[in-house]
């Protein structure tokens, strides 16, 4: 039932929304004029625009309640989050598109220059970027191995064992640790060629001069293993939750039929776990595509770009060369690839996701 809103209240609501909107537009206009040196107001930065935006957002939320009463209060549940996400994602993304097609080096005094498709050509001829994309494929494929390990561990945790809580906490630990700390703890000290405990172990096992970041394949697999070490718990716990949701009768029925364990797994557990597995793998892929911290801190992409991920590559592109324009273009290109691939993956996964119990 719509509330009775008086005309005066309605006008007031409209007034604060439109009033603050006009104020926001005016501020933006004045600031742009100031920026382009048409007029001088002496703004030091764009803060006034930010404040005007915040005021408008606040008035918009308040206006909903004033204008629509009960209905407006319902909108109030999601409006702040929508405004927040739009202002910190959509707006910067549009802004990023502008930067992506320009040559902009923060360390050079020229400022931003529109350069059309030059960044596209540069990317096309940039072997290191394609190499980083290729590495991302390797890194993503490693998820299958992680999945098998996580599934195995979840199965073990789901059996009748003592000290289950201890094992759960212990298995969860790697996920809690900061990737930067992990980079030092494992990458820089435990894998250190002379004194690291893992190198010592390798020497005991007969590897003369253990070097974990010497060859391309070795370095890449070490990075994969460190990343797997931190993220296996995430998949393991999702799979464990799925295992615990399987109705007990399923297993009992199979036991009565006298099915051997491996058959029980392949014909009951695994198919039932398919939806959960796919969710876990998709989420893991999403996290994997952001992989950077460990690479930046342990190898900074070396040797010869063998361990570079797209994110770490762009990070260095900015850090070492202050090349904002080109870096942003690479990032946008990466985003487009991700969105296309993820959409296809989700579409394919949807077919398999139908719960079977």
């Amino acid at each position: 039932m719509p509330d009775q809103i008086s005309l005066g209240r309605r006008n007031f609501g409209r007034f604060i929304i439109w009033g603050s909107a006009i104020f926001l537009i005016l501020t933006v206009l004045l600031q742009s004029l100031d920026q382009t040196n048409f007029l001088t107001f002496g703004f030091e930065n764009w803060r006034p625009t930010l404040y005007a935006y915040l005021l408008w957002a606040f008035c918009l939320c308040l206006g909903q309640v004033i204008l629509y009463g009960e209905q407006g209060k319902r909108r109030l549940f999601i409006l702040p989050a929508v405004l927040f996400v739009i202002s910190v994602v959509i707006f910067p993304l549009i802004f990023a598109l502008g930067i992506a097609f320009s040559s902009w080096n923060l360390s050079s005094p020229d400022g931003r220059q529109f350069n059309g498709l030059a960044n596209v050509y540069q990317m096309w001829a940039d072997p290191f970027y394609w190499n980083a994309l290729k590495n991302m494929i390797y890194y993503t494929l490693a998820i299958l191995v992680e999945y098998v390990i996580a599934f195995g561990l979840a199965l073990l945790l789901n059996t009748q064992i003592k000290a289950r809580k201890f094992f759960r906490v212990a298995f969860l630990m790697p996920l809690m640790l900061s990737p930067v700390a992990v980079s030092w703890m494992i990458g820089k000290s435990m894998l250190e060629a002379r004194f690291g405990p893992i190198s010592r172990l390798a020497r005991e096992l007969g590897w003369e001069n253990p070097s974990f970041f010497g060859s391309h394949e070795m370095a890449r697999s070490v990075i994969m293993m460190m990343d797997a070490w931190t993220f296996i718990p995430l998949m393991m716990i999702m799979i464990l939750a799925g295992l615990q949701a399987i109705p007990k009768e399923m297993h009992e029925a199979a036991d009565v039929d006298g099915a051997p364990p491996w058959k029980k797994f392949w014909e009951i557990t695994f198919p039932l776990m398919l939806p959960v597995s796919i969710t876990a793998i998709l989420i893991r892929i999403i996290f994997k595509l952001k992989l950077a911290d460990i690479i930046i801190n342990v190898t900074s992409g070396g040797p010869g770009g063998a361990t570079d991920s797209v994110t770490s590559f762009i990070f260095r592109e900015y850090r070492d060369r202050s090349n904002v324009g080109y870096g942003t273009f690479l990032a946008i290109f990466y985003l487009i690839i991700i969105v296309i691939l993820m959409t296809i993956l989700i579409k394919i996964a949807d077919k398999w996701m139908k719960p079977r119990y």
Partner: protein, 305 residues
């Protein structure tokens, strides 16, 4: 004598040793994996107390093959004999620690507040914003999860420079809130979905307003989910390195950035790096041990429908 229904076949009887063997393998694998998970943490803690010769000799067990020394904590100015003395490293460390704490806690709080309201609204009412309906709005929020941080990093660098938000805590808080918001919404949607609608219907009939019913009745019931979402946000924001490395320089630098900036510059002075790494992971290790139940709950949310 009662007739036995299930006879023990020869196969069943011979199963016993097999079962023992299975147990042995299961515990064997579990213990090996627990060792893999815990050893790096143990290594870091013990290395904090090692001097250079201990590191070079590869000593691992304290008191047995090396005597613990206060080297690591001394380098941070936190050992017993330096704790009351002025120390620039400690000042620096505490500042970073405090920055991390404030940023992680504020962004998690904001994300949980915004996310809970959104998830509640989406699970209870039907909205229409233009062509966007509930499922579209949900997708809009969750799709932010796919967005790689690197896409936002450079535009934000430029924007924050213009807005004078570079190297400020507020700037980082806004970004971190954004990165964990989809996860919070994911967890809370699951949580609110499991609370029966009749509950607030009864409250509304009793004359409570919409928001009052939400705050006084629904939120307390959803508390486990809220705690789970908060802790997972805390873990992610505390550990965040990428944005912090790009957007802060001196004032708002967080602990991970400090840890990263020290690596490599210490030579064989492993004890100081170990102490720093240990300090960076300690809060979360404690949270992980105490609140493990909630973390698991949060991660399992949405996995099972």
């Amino acid at each position: 004598m009662k007739k036995q229904i299930f006879h023990d076949t020869a196969k069943d009887l011979s199963f016993k040793p097999n079962w023992m063997f299975n147990r042995l393998i299961i515990y064997g694998i579990l213990i090996i994996w627990a060792f893999i998970c815990l050893f790096p943490i143990y290594w870091t803690i013990t290395t904090t107390f090692k001097a250079a010769p201990d590191v070079m000799k590869g000593n691992i067990v304290p008191w047995w093959d090396f005597t613990p020394k206060w080297l690591g904590l001394k380098s941070l100015g936190l050992s017993p004999n330096t704790i009351f003395v002025e120390n620039t490293v400690r000042e620096e460390f505490l500042k970073r620690f405090w920055n991390s704490t404030i940023i992680a806690f504020s962004s998690s709080t904001i994300a949980v507040a915004l996310g809970s309201c959104t998830a509640y609204g989406l699970s209870r009412f039907s909205y229409r914003f233009g062509f966007m309906r509930n499922s579209d709005i949900s997708f809009f929020f969750l799709s932010q999860l796919i967005l790689p941080p690197v896409v936002l990093a450079l535009p934000f660098l430029v924007l924050y420079k213009e807005l004078a938000l570079l190297d400020t805590r507020i700037g980082l808080i806004a970004l971190y809130t954004l990165t964990v918001l989809p996860i919070v919404i994911w967890i809370m949607r699951d949580q609110f979905g499991s609370i029966p609608v009749e509950l607030e219907e009864a409250a509304l009939v009793d004359g409570l307003s919409l928001w009052k019913a939400f705050i006084t009745i629904i939120l307390p019931i959803a508390l486990p989910g809220i705690i789970a979402a908060f802790i997972i946000s805390l873990v992610l924001t505390w550990n965040e390195y990428f944005f912090a490395a790009l957007l802060t320089s001196s004032h708002a630098k967080t602990l991970p950035v400090m840890v990263a900036s020290q690596t490599g510059s210490q030579g064989i002075a492993w004890w100081s790096m170990a102490a720093l790494s240990f300090a960076a992971i300690l809060p979360l290790v404690i949270i992980g041990i105490i609140l493990e139940k909630f973390i698991i709950k949060g991660m399992a949310a949405g996995a099972v429908k």
